[in-house]
C-alpha cells in the first residue's frame, strides 16, 4: 500500500513530493535523512465506526471512532504478512496528540488535522458529523496526518506519538501527566487549536459556488420530464423532444462527478490554508521569544545602570534615583550596601536568563528555519498542482457540457 511506496521511494532519493492517491490520501510525504517512524512501521487509518456512550456529564452521545492499524516494516520486508496491531481512536484523541506536539515543538510546523465539525457540507441540507461522506473524508485526513507526523524527522521520534499508535488504554492520562499544558502559551494554544484561517473566504465561497452550480444542473433535469410529457401530444416534434429530454437528464446527472472533484480541490485549499496558519503560529512563537529576550536584555541593562549609580554615586538627575534623592534625600551607606548586593544577585540572574534565551532563540530559529523552508516549498508545489488540476477539471466539465448540448441541438434540429 502507501507505506510500501514510501519505503521504495525513500531508498531512491531524499526529497520526495507529495503524491495523492485516487482517494486523496498521501502515498508519500516529505522525507529527509535520518530514520523516522514511518520507515519502521506501516500506519493506516483503516475504518470508522459509530459508538454510543456516556460522556463526562453522563449524557448519552454518539461519536465516531477510527481504527488505527500498524505493522512492523521489517516483517513486511521479509515477506511475512503479519496481521496488523490496531486500536480505536476518537477525533478528540488526535486533537490531543496534535496539541501536545505543538506545545512540545513550538518551532515545528505541525501537520493539520481535518475538520472537527462538518461545517461546510456540500449541497446537503444539514451539517451532520455522522454523514458518511464527511466521515470518509475525515478518515483520509486523519491518515494523512499520521503519515506526515510519522515521517517528520523531528516529530516522528516523539514518545507520545509512538504510544498513541500502540497503547490503547491510558494513553490520554499519560499525555496529561507530561504537564505539557502548563508550557503552552495560552494565546498560541487558542490559535493552533481552532481552525481560524485568515484567507478562508476562497474556500467558503467555493462551497457556495458549487452549491449553486449543482442547482443549475439539477433543474435542467426537469426538462427531461416535461419534454417527455409534451412529446406525447406532438406528431412531428415528438421524437426530437423526447430524445432532447434524455440528454437533459444526462446533463443533470453529470454534476455529481463535477462536485466530487470540486470537493477534492476544496480539501487541498483547506489543507494549504491550515498549514499556512500553523506556519504563522511558529513565526509568532518566535517573535514572542524575541520579545522576551529583548525584555530580559532591557531589564539587565537597567539593573546595571542602577548598580553604576549606586557604586559611583553619580546620579543622573532624571533617573529614579535622582528624583528620589531630591524628594527624600540620599540614603545611608548601609542601605546602599544592601541594595548593591541585591542588585549584583539580580544582575547575575539576569545574565543567565539572557544567555539562556539567546541560546534558545538561536537554536529554535535554526530548527524552524529548516522546517519552514521545507514545508513552504512543498506546499507551494502542492497548491500549484491543485490549481492546475482545478483548471483541468473545469475544462473537462466544459467538454462534457459541449457534448451534451451539441447532442441536444441535434435532437432539436430533428423537431
Amino acid at each position: 500500500r502507501m507505506a510500501e511506496d514510501v519505503k521504495e521511494e525513500s531508498v531512491a532519493s531524499n526529497d520526495e513530493s507529495d503524491r495523492a492517491a485516487s482517494d486523496g490520501s498521501l502515498s508519500n510525504t516529505m522525507l529527509t535523512e535520518g530514520s523516522c517512524l514511518l520507515r519502521r512501521m506501516e500506519i493506516c487509518v483503516a475504518e470508522a465506526e459509530k459508538r454510543s456512550g456516556k460522556n463526562a456529564v453522563s449524557m448519552q452521545e454518539t461519536y465516531t471512532v477510527y481504527l488505527v492499524e500498524t505493522r512492523p516494516m521489517d516483517a513486511i520486508a521479509e515477506g511475512r504478512n503479519p496481521p496488523p496491531d490496531s486500536l480505536w481512536r476518537r477525533y478528540s484523541e488526535f486533537e490531543l496528540l496534535r496539541n501536545y506536539l505543538i506545545v512540545t515543538y513550538p518551532y515545528i510546523v505541525v501537520p493539520p488535522l481535518p475538520e472537527k465539525r462538518a461545517e461546510f457540507v456540500w449541497h446537503k441540507l444539514s451539517a451532520d458529523n455522522m454523514d458518511p461522506d464527511f466521515v470518509e473524508r475525515r478518515r483520509i485526513g486523519l491518515e494523512n496526518f499520521l503519515l506526515r507526523v510519522a515521517s517528520h524527522p523531528v516529530l516522528s521520534n516523539n514518545e507520545m506519538l509512538y504510544q498513541f499508535l500502540t497503547k490503547e488504554h491510558g494513553w490520554k492520562e499519560m499525555v496529561y501527566e507530561t504537564g505539557f499544558q502548563t508550557k503552552a502559551d495560552s494565546r498560541l494554544r487558542a490559535l493552533s487549536a481552532t481552525f481560524r484561517v485568515r484567507n478562508y473566504n476562497s474556500f467558503s465561497l467555493l462551497q457556495r459556488v458549487a452549491d449553486r452550480l449543482y442547482a443549475v444542473y439539477k433543474v435542467h433535469g426537469n426538462y427531461g420530464r416535461v419534454f417527455s410529457e409534451w412529446s406525447a401530444i406532438e406528431k412531428e416534434m415528438g421524437d426530437g423532444l423526447q430524445s432532447a429530454g434524455h440528454h437533459m437528464d444526462a446533463y443533470a446527472a453529470s454534476v455529481d462527478d463535477i462536485l466530487e472533484e470540486e470537493e477534492h480541490y476544496a480539501d487541498q485549499l483547506k489543507e494549504y490554508l491550515s498549514y499556512a496558519e500553523a506556519l504563522r503560529a511558529v513565526c509568532r512563537k518566535h517573535e514572542l521569544s524575541q520579545f522576551e529576550l529583548e525584555m530580559a536584555s532591557q531589564d539587565l541593562i537597567s539593573k546595571k545602570q542602577q548598580r553604576e549609580e549606586l557604586a559611583t554615586g553619580i546620579v543622573h538627575t532624571f533617573s529614579l534615583k535622582g528624583m528620589t534623592n531630591k524628594l527624600f534625600g540620599q540614603e545611608a551607606p548601609e542601605q546602599r550596601e544592601a541594595k548593591l548586593n541585591l542588585l549584583e544577585e539580580l544582575i547575575a540572574e539576569g545574565e543567565e536568563t539572557v544567555k539562556e534565551k539567546t541560546a534558545e532563540c538561536d537554536e529554535h530559529a535554526e530548527k524552524a528555519w529548516a522546517d519552514i523552508v521545507r514545508f513552504k516549498d512543498q506546499k507551494d508545489k502542492d497548491l500549484k498542482e491543485a490549481f492546475i488540476n482545478y483548471a483541468l477539471m473545469q475544462i473537462s466539465m466544459c467538454k462534457k457540457g459541449i457534448q451534451v448540448w451539441s447532442n441536444a441541438k441535434e435532437c432539436f434540429l430533428k423537431m
Binding site: 485568515r198 484567507n199 473566504n201 476562497s202 465561497l205 467555493l206 457556495r208 459556488v209 449553486r212 452550480l213 442547482a215 443549475v216 433543474v219 435542467h220 426537469n222 426538462y223 416535461v226 419534454f227 410529457e229 409534451w230 401530444i233 412531428e236 416534434m237 432532447a244 513565526c283 518566535h286 517573535e287 524575541q290 538561536d362 530559529a365 535554526e366 524552524a368 528555519w369 519552514i372 523552508v373 513552504k376 516549498d377 507551494d380 508545489k381 497548491l383 500549484k384 498542482e385 490549481f387 492546475i388 482545478y390 483548471a391 483541468l392 473545469q394 475544462i395 466544459c398 467538454k399 457540457g401 459541449i402 448540448w405 451539441s406 441536444a408 441541438k409 432539436f412 434540429l413 423537431m415
Partner: protein, 451 residues
C-alpha cells in the same frame, strides 16, 4: 418543402387585380372569379387560401412579402390626465389598397388592444398571435422601466409581424386603419366594439348553459390538444424560469468568489501569480455566464412566454367556435319546435294569424340558414388556420431551442478557453523558486529567522 412558412404571399396572388377593386372585407360579393381571385369576404379568402395550400408544393417562387411593419422608438407621452408610452409604427408596402407606400404613426398599448379585439370579433376562429400582457402590479416592475418597455416593444413588433404574415388577417380593414390613421383614439372610442363584446358575452353565457349537442370529432381532438399543449407550455415555461433564476444566483456567487483569490494573493509571495491567475479565470467565467443568461432571457424566455399566451388564445378560439355552433343549435331547435308539417299545409289568404306565423317561421328558417353558414365558415377558418399555426409554432419553438443549445455550446467553449491560457500553466509549472528568492522578497519572517 420548406414547410416553415405559410405562403405569406397569398395575398400577393390574390391582389393581382384592378386598382379600383374594393377590398372591403365585409363586401357581400362572394363571387370567385376564376384565375383572378378577389379577396372579398373572409370565406372566399379562406377558400382561396385552402386551394393555394394544396398548391403550395408546386409553388417554386420565393415568398414575396409586400408589407413590412416595424415597431420602435418608445416615447413617454405626458398629459394632464395621464402618462403613457407610445411606439412608432412604420409601414412599408406595395399593396395597392394602401394609398401610399410608407406610413408612420404613433400607437399606444390600448391601440394594439383595440386592433386585437377587432380582429377577434371579425375573425372569431382565426388564431391571432398574442399581445404582451398588460402591466401587472404583482410583478413589481415599474411600468416605465426600460427593460419592461423594451420587452413589450419587441412583443408588439412580433404581434404586428405575425399579422402581416397571415394571409387573411393582413388584409383586415382594421389592420389597415391601425397602420395608417393618424389618430386612432376617436375610432377607438366609437364603434360596435363594446356593445358587440357585451352581446357576445351574453350569448356565450347562455350557450354555455345549454352545452353543445354534438361536436365534430376533429374539434374534440383539437380541444384536447389545446388543453394538453397549455399544460405543457406552462411546465416548460416554469422550468425555464427556474433555470434562469438558479443561473443568476450562480453568477452572483461567482462574482464574489473570483476576487477572493486576489485578496489571498496580497498576502502571498510565491503564490501570488498563480492565485491571480485562478482569480482572473474565475472572473472571465462569470462574465461569460452573465452573457449566457442575458441571451437566454432574450431568446428562449420570451418565446416560451408567448406560446403560453398562445395556448390561452387557442382556448378562446375553441370557445368562440363552440359558441357559434351553440347559437346555431339553439335557433335550430327553436325552429324545429315551431314548425310542424301539418301547419304548413295550405295557406288561405284570409287566415291572417296563420300567415303571420308562416312568415315568422320562414324568417326563423332564414336565420337558421345564416347561422349554419356561419358555423361552416367558422369551422373552415379554424381548420385552415390550425395547421398554419401548428407549423409556425413548431418553427418558433424549434428555433428557440436550437439557439439555446447552440448558445450553451458556445458558452462552454468560451469557458474552456478561459482555463486554457498558457499564463496559468507557465506560472504554475515554473520550477520551484528557491529559498533565496523567498528571502530576497524581503519577507519579515525570513529576516527574523536568519541565523
Amino acid at each position: 418543402m420548406s414547410g416553415a412558412k405559410v405562403p405569406a404571399d397569398i395575398s400577393g396572388h390574390m391582389l393581382d387585380l384592378d386598382e379600383e377593386e374594393d377590398l372591403e372585407v365585409f363586401s357581400k360579393n362572394t363571387s370567385l372569379a376564376e384565375g383572378n381571385p378577389m379577396p372579398n369576404s373572409p370565406d372566399s379568402m379562406v377558400n382561396q387560401f385552402r386551394l393555394d395550400e394544396e398548391n403550395e408544393e408546386e409553388q417554386q417562387g420565393a415568398i414575396n412579402k409586400d408589407i413590412f411593419v416595424t415597431v420602435d422608438n418608445p416615447e413617454s407621452h405626458i398629459s394632464a390626465i395621464e402618462t403613457f408610452i407610445t411606439y412608432r409604427v412604420v409601414t412599408r408596402t406595395t399593396r395597392s389598397e394602401f394609398d401610399s407606400s410608407k406610413y408612420e404613426v404613433r400607437r399606444r398599448y390600448q391601440d394594439f388592444l383595440w386592433l386585437k379585439s377587432r380582429l377577434e370579433e371579425n375573425y372569431p376562429t382565426l388564431i391571432v398571435h398574442p399581445l404582451p400582457e398588460k402591466f401587472v402590479m404583482k410583478s413589481m416592475v415599474e411600468r416605465f422601466n426600460d427593460d419592461f418597455i423594451e420587452t413589450r416593444r419587441k412583443a408588439l413588433h412580433r404581434f404586428l409581424n405575425r399579422i402581416t404574415e397571415h394571409p387573411i388577417l393582413s388584409c383586415s380593414h382594421h389592420f389597415k386603419v391601425f397602420l395608417t390613421e393618424e389618430e386612432l383614439a376617436p375610432l377607438r372610442k366609437l364603434g360596435p366594439g363594446f356593445l358587440s363584446r357585451m352581446s357576445e358575452t351574453m350569448r356565450a353565457m347562455a350557450n354555455s348553459v345549454r352545452g353543445l349537442r354534438s361536436k365534430l370529432e376533429e374539434f374534440a381532438i383539437m380541444q384536447e390538444y389545446v388543453d394538453d399543449f397549455s399544460n405543457n407550455m406552462c411546465s416548460v415555461d416554469k422550468v425555464t424560469h427556474r433555470i434562469t433564476k438558479e443561473h443568476r444566483e450562480y453568477m452572483d456567487e461567482l462574482k464574489q468568489y473570483g476576487p477572493t483569490y486576489f485578496h489571498w494573493a496580497e498576502s502571498e509571495e510565491l503564490l501570488a501569480e498563480p492565485l491571480k491567475g485562478v482569480g482572473s479565470c474565475v472572473e472571465k467565467c462569470s462574465k461569460e455566464t452573465e452573457e449566457q443568461i442575458q441571451y437566454l432571457s432574450e431568446v428562449l424566455v420570451p418565446t416560451l412566454h408567448e406560446y403560453v399566451l398562445c395556448a390561452d388564445t387557442l382556448k378562446a378560439v375553441m370557445r368562440r367556435r363552440d359558441n357559434i355552433q351553440a347559437e346555431f343549435e339553439a335557433k335550430n331547435e327553436a325552429l324545429a319546435s315551431k314548425t310542424t308539417d301539418k301547419e304548413m299545409v295550405s295557406i288561405s289568404l284570409s287566415d291572417s294569424p296563420l300567415l303571420m306565423r308562416f312568415f315568422y317561421v320562414w324568417q326563423l328558417q332564414e336565420e337558421v340558414d345564416d347561422l349554419a353558414d356561419r358555423v361552416e365558415q367558422a369551422n373552415n377558418a379554424l381548420r385552415g388556420d390550425w395547421s398554419r399555426w401548428r407549423t409556425s409554432m413548431r418553427a418558433d419553438l424549434k428555433s428557440a431551442f436550437i439557439s439555446t443549445a447552440a448558445k450553451n455550446v458556445d458558452y462552454y467553449e468560451k469557458v474552456s478557453l478561459t482555463y486554457c491560457p498558457s499564463s496559468l500553466y507557465d506560472v504554475c509549472l515554473q520550477t520551484s523558486t528557491t529559498l533565496a528568492s523567498w528571502f530576497r522578497s524581503g519577507s519579515l519572517i525570513a529576516t527574523r529567522l536568519l541565523p
